[in-house]
Amino acid sequence: MGALTDLTIAEARDGLAAKQFSAREMTEAYIAAMAAARPLNAFLVETPERALVMAAASDARIARGAALPMEGMPLAIKDLFCTEGVLTTAGSRILERFMPPYESTVTAKLWQAGAVMLGKVNMDEFAMGSSTVTCAHGPVESPWRRPGDNRPLVPGGSSGGSAAAVAARAAIAATGTDTGGSIRQPASFCGIVGLKPTYGRCSRWGIVAFASSLDQAGPMTRSVRDAAIMLKAMAGHDPKDSTSAPQPVPDFEAALTGDIRGLRIGIPREYRLDGMPGEIEALWQRGIEWIKDAGAKPVEISLKLTKYALPAYYIIAPAEASSNLARYDGVRFGLRVPGQSLDEMYENTRAAGFGAEVRRRILIGTYVLSAGYYDAYYLKAQRLRTLIARDFAAAFERCDALLTPTAPSAAFAIGEKQDDPIAMYLNDVFTVPVNLAGLPGLSVPAGLSRDGLPLGLQVIGRAFDEATVLRVGGIIERAAAFTAKPAFPAGGG
């Protein structure tokens, strides 16, 4: 057996059941790995004492034969999830001292399933970004490097701390959130698996809100099976979130039959972008061959409004964000910067508390919602959203899942694309339409770029059909046999 920190959740579950090691030993190995990974700036808060207490409880349950589904699994938690008594900043100065008096539903469910909390991980401020560079606490570095090039790369974003921690073997898995690609794009950049569930599958209660009609929590793991195991623990109806779906949660792991014979897999022709790197196109073609070899049938389909999804998203998401972030007023929680009047106090607080990208999006959102522009921008974007969702619905009449690239490129260097917001937004061109339609999307590592960096393929499914998405993802994973490891920690820890 190799290092404990190299095991997947499924392997660790077997090892714990067979008493090859204890939950305490595994947690200690991860606490050491988390400390060794500090140069990546992935963890904002480490909670080793809490982790050891939770691991001891896991060992006690294992000893009496009452192991839970996520028993003893040391997790990194994106700093967007409120964790009772543990600092939760959403990567923002405006929440730099916020200590939630409650626990988010998703994290509470993970602890109830036996998981162990290692700490909170860094992210783009309020989840607004695709690089994990726009954090109040400094950028996160990807554990990956281009061979022979020591420039630090971005881990993707906004769940960049989650992806970096999992890829660097500093957590067995992590929670992420995905509003326009924030789970799938960093998973693709860091060579891990990331699943954005159907909107409504996981409760949003206790997750700091960005764009409420798009936000969804999901697992970030090192295997498709692990994503299935972890999603089951996170999902389920929650009366505290009125948009949480009263749907039964299937056994996603049981769906990984390895058999996709007869499935029709849609290949959207509009995802072939002008100027897309040849290696992305080649990877996609390999993916199509893999599913064919496994007995599924690729079907060319059209999602003709694909190019309008991003601009529609950049109306809807900032509009919702400008409303959601109105709560940071220096009164009830967070930063306060004094002023002569109440209004000046608000203005000073929000100017000092929000970073450049968050300010930009609040201003865009305020503008598109303001009198005289609401119809032209906001309603127009919502109508586009209806049409985009209809395009997907029509596609799913002809196929069972869709296969696309996750992102139009591999990871870029820290500092690149920072001066051009639109170039940064284009990272999410393949992921955003899925959020607008509320569908599940999975990124699976499928190969390396010419520069030796991970590239992912995305499987998109029908609403509440994560089971098929995971089943197809499992085929991609097996065919791709992605075994490359990041440069950090040197020598694989």
């Binding site: 009366p239 601009p311 220096g330 009164v331 009830r332 201003l363 503008y367 109508r383 586009l384």
Partner: protein, 95 residues
């Protein structure tokens, strides 16, 4: 549509974000570029299409009108930047 400095200043006031004069021009340029890019939506005919505010195809659930939470004043106030006598405090708003 190109935003001018005066419009940027106005939306900054609506959003309650202090914006130094020196940043207005830069931000006007940046926001104009984003809005210009967004305007390609005009190419799509959306006449008669229902706007989608949520992908969840259900009515918001109703529940009994009863107290399910509360009695946690001190926990809530613990995060307030300023509190006194069990209340949030703000700068004086009444002369």
């Amino acid at each position: 549509m190109a935003l001018d400095k005066a419009t940027v200043a106005r939306i900054a006031i609506l959003a309650r974000i202090k914006l130094p004069r020196s940043e207005q021009e830069h931000l006007a340029r940046e926001l104009s570029a984003i809005l210009g890019w967004i305007e390609q939506l005009a190419e799509v005919d959306t006449a008669g299409v229902e706007p989608m505010s949520s992908v969840v195809a259900m009515r918001l659930p109703m529940r009994e009108d009863e107290v399910t939470d509360g009695d946690c004043r001190d926990k809530i106030l613990a995060n307030a930047p300023a509190a006194a006598h069990g209340f949030f405090t703000v700068p004086k708003v009444v002369e």
